[in-house]
Amino acid sequence: MGLDILSQYVVNTLMLGMIYAMVAVGFTLFFGVLDVIQFSHGDVLMLGGFTALASYLGASAAGIANPWLLLAIMLLASTAVTAALGAFVARFLVLPLKNAPPLNTLLVTLMFGLAVREAVRLFYPNGSNPKPFPRLLPDTSFTLGTLALRADSLMLLAAGLVVVVGVHLLITRTKLGLAIRAVAQDGETARVMGIDFQRVVLLTFGLGSALAAMAGVMNGLYYNEINFGLGLLLGVIGFSAAILGGLGNFLGAILGGFLFAALQTFGAVVLPMVAPAITSAYKDVFAFTMVILLMAWKPTGLIAERSSERV
């Protein structure tokens, strides 16, 4: 295998890993503050992508042609919409069921995800078909020695890195981050200390969902295509990544995201070379099988939860 092909696989893996990590961080944040799994997270991401697409169409119709300005509008619109949606889910679906069995919370969010998915499929114009996503970043490529690197991939990677580091700083260095961590550690005590529990929960859900929107836009820019079913797979992958890293653990989620991407690439590239009967179409089958096996091996994830209740 040539070095340039190898480097393409590496960039692709890093790119996927970045998207998965951003989704997984959302799962981990939600689990941290409320101990719930927000299964509609992937569909929130998908909605973010579609909002970005719609705002792009709207803005270009209004005569804006500067790609950077368009990108800013798209990001602003999609993060605003998904943050509001995330807060909505927390306020009206998850918090009212706080004392119900965990199964009910899980079902409510699963069903909400299905509702969002179906709503986009039915009500977005021609929503059941894949949509082309605009190519806004410069697609020049430059060579580094013998390696050809595309500028847009590198920009997306850098942007993802900035976002993830930014969220990490937000959580570890700011007062809001302190409040989030306090609620995650012990909601009751945090309330006694004068933290507005509901506000922190809503803000956390908004933050996580805004991250999902960015992941959705990144995904769209990278593949130049978006479809209504993408949320389900990305959601499950993000959740797997969060669990692989250890739920409730920020760094674990990022690690899990890159690990899952590596597994997928391995399944797509290395397996067909070893066993020709297994084509690269099996990459998801392989990745999920590995996730199930990894969970059997280390049920608490690679970096264990702080307090795990198991029988």
Binding site: F31, I37, F39, L93, P96, L97, A100, P102, L103, N104, L106, L107, V108, L110, M111, F112, L114, A115, R117, E118, A119, L122, L232, L233, V236, F239, S240, I243, L247, T279, A281, Y282, D284, V285, F288, T289, V291, I292, L293, M295, A296, P299, T300, E309, R310, V311
Partner: protein
């Protein structure tokens, strides 16, 4: 009872959208009237006092429906589908309702049954009765592999494993060419002990659709599954499972083997799903990956939630509502996933016990509590 089935007959018969709408309105009005006049309670009491009568009544009702529609393919197909989905949901009921093991891959296990039946029936000369059982057995076997990681974890992790399996299963089918890829496989009709279910026949000069055969078979299956599930619920197995669901720690303290009952519940449930899937596949004559999506698994769960989780009685009416309404109201067919998702959200928020909530366990049936008078 008779009224309910007469109503169903009318609903299946109704051709125009307006007639269906009118019938729905009628049902809502009757429900409302029953509640206002407080006739519901004595009815419910009678029903729970004599479950056998209710069960026989249901079976007779289905037979009457089959007789009434003896040559209408589509209506009989619907009746069959409802019965088979009820079998799957009875299986899920053991998992969700009794042992508290979540399973979001119901449709995938259903599909495992169908595909097993398809492969065995086309490539081997195995008697078809065994093929059906094999469908169930393979689903149960795959399920017991899957439960292995679930046992070491709890709650969310089990959900992840089953969801991952559901998606894995569908993408596996789509890329696997020996199993037909996205187009799926054709299956020959069922042939039980020389009785060809795939052929229509004439009885006393009346032509009878071949689906009538399948209605009979599904009815027998459904009844058997129902009796089986009720027996499990009433036995000490059900008691142990209830205990595990409500409090694992307490159950373990009292010496209840958690892993054993969870595996058992999961295996039973998937066996029923696989069996129903095998029959369904052979009835429709073809299987394709698109019938076993994650959304279909969620539909199965919504039947369970709508009927009242843990109560096998709720499943039949719920399956009827969920499956027949979209077929009859064509304009909601397209929107059915959306509608059911919203419906389940509202049920969970405002009436978490479903239409027919599970009642408190009656330890001594037939004996009235002494201080009740």
């Amino acid at each position: 009872m008779a009224t309910a089935f007469a109503y169903l007959w009318a609903l299946l018969h109704a051709e125009s959208q307006w007639a269906v709408g009118g019938l729905l309105l009628l049902a809502v009005l009757v429900m409302f009237g029953l509640r206002r006049l407080r006739w519901g309670e004595p009815l419910g009491a009678t029903a729970s006092a004599s479950p056998r009568v209710l069960g026989v009544g249901c079976a007779l009702g289905v037979l009457a429906l089959a007789a009434a529609f003896h040559n209408v393919h589509f209506a009989l197909l619907l009746v069959c589908t409802v019965l088979l989905y009820a079998v799957v949901c009875l299986g899920l009921n053991i998992q969700f309702g009794y042992a508290g093991v979540v399973n979001f891959a119901g449709a995938a296990f259903f599909g495992v049954g169908s595909y097993t039946a398809a492969t065995l029936a086309t490539h081997t000369a195995l008697p078809h009765a065994l093929v059906l059982l094999a469908g169930g057995a393979v689903a149960a076997a795959i399920g017991s592999l899957l439960i292995w990681p679930v046992l070491r974890t709890r709650g969310h992790y089990a959900a992840l494993v089953t969801i991952a399996f559901g998606i894995l299963f569908k993408s596996f089918l789509e890329v696997n060419d020996t199993l037909g890829g996205p187009q799926g496989l054709r299956i020959p009709g069922l042939n039980l002990f020389g009785w060809k279910l795939g052929d229509g026949f004439e009885l006393a000069g009346i032509e009878i659709s071949f689906y009538a055969n399948y209605v009979l078979l599904s009815l027998v299956l459904c009844l058997a599954a129902f009796v089986f599930v009720r027996r499990i619920e009433r036995s000490w197995i059900g008691l142990a499972m209830d205990m595990i669901r409500t409090d694992e720690v307490a159950a373990a303290v009292f010496g209840v083997g958690i892993a054993r009952w969870k595996v058992l519940a999961f295996t039973f449930g998937n066996f029923l799903a696989g069996l129903a899937g095998a029959v369904y596949g052979m009835m429709t004559g073809y299987v394709a990956p698109n019938n076993f999506t994650f959304a279909d698994s969620l539909i199965l769960v919504s039947i369970l939630i709508l009927g009242g989780i843990g109560n096998p009685w709720g499943i039949l009416p719920a399956a009827t509502i969920v499956l027949i309404l979209p077929e009859k109201f064509q304009f909601i067919q397209e929107y059915r996933f959306l509608l059911y998702a919203l419906l389940v959200i509202f049920i969970l928020l405002f009436r978490p016990d479903g239409l027919l909530p599970r009642t408190v366990r009656d330890y001594f049936p037939g004996r009235a509590p002494k201080d009740a008078a």
